[in-house]
Symmetry: C2
Subunit: 409 residues, 2 copies
C-alpha cells in the first residue's frame, strides 16, 4: 500500500529529527484578548463595544435566559442597536451559522457578541471570519483551511469554562451532513474582550462542569504529555494548571457557589488553551483527532471522548511518552517511588482515576453498546482522508489509531 | 505628628479590609506584545517594523557593538532609514533621554527600536510617550504620573534578561539631579514586538547575569510574598518561575553557552513581570520602593538593592507574611518539616541563601562602609514625600522602613 509506506517513511524521519534536539523550540507568542475577570463584571461590556456599533448577540439553547445572564448582557447593551441570534448548538453547525451570516449581511451588523460556552464562541469566530471573507463561499474557510488575518470584531461573555476559546484564535466547526469537524483560526480571530464572571458556574449542570474540567485537563495533557525538551517553565506551568484543576474539581462539583473554587476553575480553563503553555514545546493533539470521530459517530460529549481515548493513547505510546508520564506522576500526583516505568504507569492510572473522580467514564462501552467495529471504521476514515501521521512525532498510522481505539472499548 | 497619625489610621482600615476577604480579586488583563523567541531570531525584525518607517535605534553603552548584536540588528534594518542613539545609561536618565527626544522631533522619526536591557527599553518607553505628548513639558509625564494611552510604536531586541520590560507597559526613569526614580506606564507602552534570542546571554558579564536572576526572582516575590488569597493558579505560576530560576541559575552562571538553560532563564525573566502572575492577587513592591533609595544614594545595582532589602523586609513583616513564606518554603524548596513559623523562617533563609549562591551579597555593609545613618535618611525622605504606606496592606510607615533598613546593615 503506497500510502502506508509513505507514512512509515515520514514516521522514521520525524522521530529521528525530533529526538535529536532536546531544546526549547523557537516560538512566536501574541495574544491580544482583554480579559475582564471577576464577580459582577458582565456589565462592563457596555464600555468595551465601540459606540454606534450594530451588535449581533449570539447565544445557545436558551439557558442564558434562565440563569439571569441574558438580562445582565441586555442591560450592558442598552445603548446599542442589537439583534439576537439564539440556538447555536453544541458542536456549532455550519448550516445554522449560515443563517446568522445572512442576518449579519442584511442587517449591516458591525460587532458580534458571543454569550455562551465554547460552541457559541467558536460559532461566532466562524461568523467573524465569514462576515469579511471575500471569496466565493464561506465554506472555503473550512475546507481550504484559510487562515483569518482580519475578522469582524467581537467580544465574548463566557458562560461555561472549558474550551479556552474565550482567549484564543481557534475554532472547531461541525458539518452535520458529513459528520465532520473542521478547525479554523488566525490572528484575526482573537476576541477583543472576554468577560469571565465565575458566578456563572452556579447555574451550570454538574455533568457539564465535569465535562469542562475534563476538557481543560486534556488540553493541558495534549500540550504536555509528549517528550522532555528542557522547557522547564512551560512544563511547570502545565503542571500548575493540572494541579489546580485537580484541587478545585471536587470543590466546584460539591458547591458551585464556592466562589474561590469557581474562580480558580475558570481561570485554569482559560490558561489551559490560550497559547502560553504550548510555546516552545512539541504538542500531541492525537486524543482530540481520534475523539472527534467518537462525537461524530455516537454524539458523545466532546470532553468525554477525550477521557475515553487519552488513557489508551498513553498506554499504546508508552515508550515515547514514559519520561513525561513519570515526571507528571511525580510532580502532579506526588508519586516518588518506583522505577521510571512504574511511575509512568502510575501516571496513566492517576489520569484515569481523576476522570472517574469527576464522574466521567473512560471506556467506550460505558457510553454505547454498539462499539464493535468502531476501531475499523475510524481507521478507514483516516485512510480515506489521506491522513499523514498523528501525535508529537507525526508518526501514528491509521493502524496505530485502530489499536488505540480498540484498547478504549 | 499629624502625618503619622493619618498613616496609622489608614493602616488599621486597610489591614482590616484586606484581611476580610480571601478570594481572588477582580482583574483585567491584556498584553498585546508579540514575542519572537529563539535561536537566530534577531533578523526577524525586518518584517515587524512597518515599511517606510523612519527608525531611531536606541542602545546603551556600546556592548552591542562588541557581541555581534549590533550587526544583526543593522542587517535587519537594511531596508529602513535609520538614525542611531547610543549611550543610554543604566537607570535611564531624563536629561540623556531629552537629547534623543530632540532627534525624534527634528528628524521626524516614526518608529523606535530599543536594542538593550531594561534600561534601554524603559528609556525607549519614555520616548514613545514623550514623542506624542501634547502637554507643555515631557517632565509632566513623570512628575504628574500621566498615564500613556497612546505612544509612538516601538519594538525591542532584548540583550539582557532581567526586568521584564520587553513584555510590559511600565518603565522607571531616573532624574539624576534629584536622585529620584519615577515610574510611568499605560496601555500605549507595550512593545509591538520583542525579540528574545537566548544566545545573547553568551556575552553578558557574570555579575550582570547574577543581577538579572536576582531581579527576576524578586519581581516574583513582590507579587507573591503577601498573604494567601486562594488564587491557586497564580501562586503555582509564581512558584514555577522561582523554581525554574533556581534550577537554571547555576547552569547559566557556569556556562552561558548552554542554550537550554539560557532559554529557560530568559523566558522566566519575561514571565516574571508581564502582568500575568499579579492578576487577582495583592502585591507588595515595598522592596523595590526601599531599594530604589539605596541605588539613588550609593549607586548600588538595582537588583542588589533588592537582595539587601528583601530578607529584612520579610523578617520584619513576618507575622503578616508567614503563611505565604511557609507555602513558599514547602513548595519551592521542599521544606516539609517543622511548624508553620519554622517553615516560614526557613523560607527567608532559603531566599537569602539563593542570592548568595548567585554571588549576590545581602547586607548593605558588604557594599559600602558608609552605611550608618542610611535608615534615618530614608525615613526622612519618605516623610518628606508625604508617603502613605508601603506593602500589600499599605500599612508600613516611614518608621517601619527605618527598622527594615537597619536590619539590612
Amino acid at each position: 500500500m503506497d500510502f502506508l509506506n509513505r507514512v512509515k517513511k515520514i514516521k522514521a524521519t520525524l522521530v529521528k529529527k525530533n529526538l535529536k534536539f532536546f531544546k526549547m523550540l523557537n516560538f512566536e507568542f501574541q495574544n491580544s484578548t482583554k480579559i475582564i475577570f471577576g464577580k459582577d463584571t458582565i456589565g462592563k461590556l457596555s464600555t468595551e463595544i465601540p459606540t454606534n456599533s450594530k451588535v449581533l448577540m449570539l447565544y445557545g439553547g436558551g439557558s442564558v435566559k434562565k440563569n439571569g445572564i441574558y438580562e445582565q448582557v441586555k442591560k450592558g447593551l442598552s445603548n446599542f442597536e442589537v439583534i439576537e441570534f439564539g440556538g447555536i448548538p453544541a458542536n456549532p453547525e455550519y448550516e445554522v451559522l449560515l443563517k446568522a451570516l445572512e442576518i449579519i449581511k442584511t442587517e449591516n451588523i458591525t460587532y458580534l457578541l458571543a454569550v455562551g460556552g465554547g460552541s457559541v464562541i467558536d460559532g461566532t469566530k466562524f461568523l467573524a471570519s465569514a462576515a469579511l471573507y471575500e471569496g466565493d463561499s464561506p465554506w472555503d474557510i473550512l475546507s481550504k483551511f484559510i487562515r483569518t488575518e482580519k475578522g469582524m470584531p467581537f467580544g465574548t461573555v463566557l458562560t461555561m469554562p472549558a474550551t479556552g476559546s474565550e482567549m484564543n484564535s481557534g475554532a472547531v466547526i461541525t458539518r452535520a451532513e458529513t459528520q465532520e469537524k473542521f478547525g479554523m483560526g488566525g490572528p484575526g480571530l482573537f476576541p477583543q474582550f472576554s468577560i469571565l464572571d465565575p458566578q456563572v458556574i452556579q447555574s451550570i449542570p454538574k455533568n457539564q462542569i465535569s465535562n469542562g474540567i475534563t476538557d481543560a485537563f486534556t488540553h493541558v495533557l495534549e500540550q504536555y504529555m509528549t517528550y522532555p525538551i528542557n522547557a522547564f517553565l512551560q512544563d511547570r506551568f502545565a503542571e500548575s494548571i493540572m494541579q489546580t484543576l485537580i484541587e478545585v474539581a471536587p470543590m466546584v462539583l460539591e458547591n458551585p457557589f464556592y466562589y474561590e473554587a469557581a474562580a480558580n476553575y475558570m481561570w485554569s480553563c482559560t490558561m489551559a488553551l490560550n497559547g502560553l503553555i504550548q510555546k516552545g514545546v512539541p504538542t500531541d493533539w492525537a486524543v482530540h483527532s481520534i475523539g472527534h470521530e467518537l462525537t461524530a459517530k455516537f454524539g458523545i460529549d466532546h470532553a468525554r471522548t477525550l477521557a475515553i481515548i487519552a488513557p489508551s493513547h498513553y498506554r499504546y505510546n508508552f515508550e515515547t511518552k514514559k519520561k513525561k508520564l513519570a515526571q507528571f506522576a511525580e510532580r502532579v500526583f506526588g508519586v516518588h517511588t518506583g522505577t521510571l516505568e512504574e511511575k509512568a504507569t502510575a501516571g496513566i492510572d492517576k489520569i484515569e482515576a481523576f476522570f472517574h473522580s469527576v464522574n466521567i467514564p473512560t471506556k467506550l462501552s460505558e457510553y454505547t453498546s454498539e462499539f464493535e467495529g468502531t476501531a475499523e471504521r475510524i481507521e478507514a476514515r483516516f485512510i480515506e482522508r489521506n491522513w499523514l501521521g498523528l501525535g508529537e512525532h507525526k508518526s501514528l498510522t491509521p493502524a496505530d489509531v485502530k489499536k488505540i481505539v480498540e484498547m478504549s472499548y
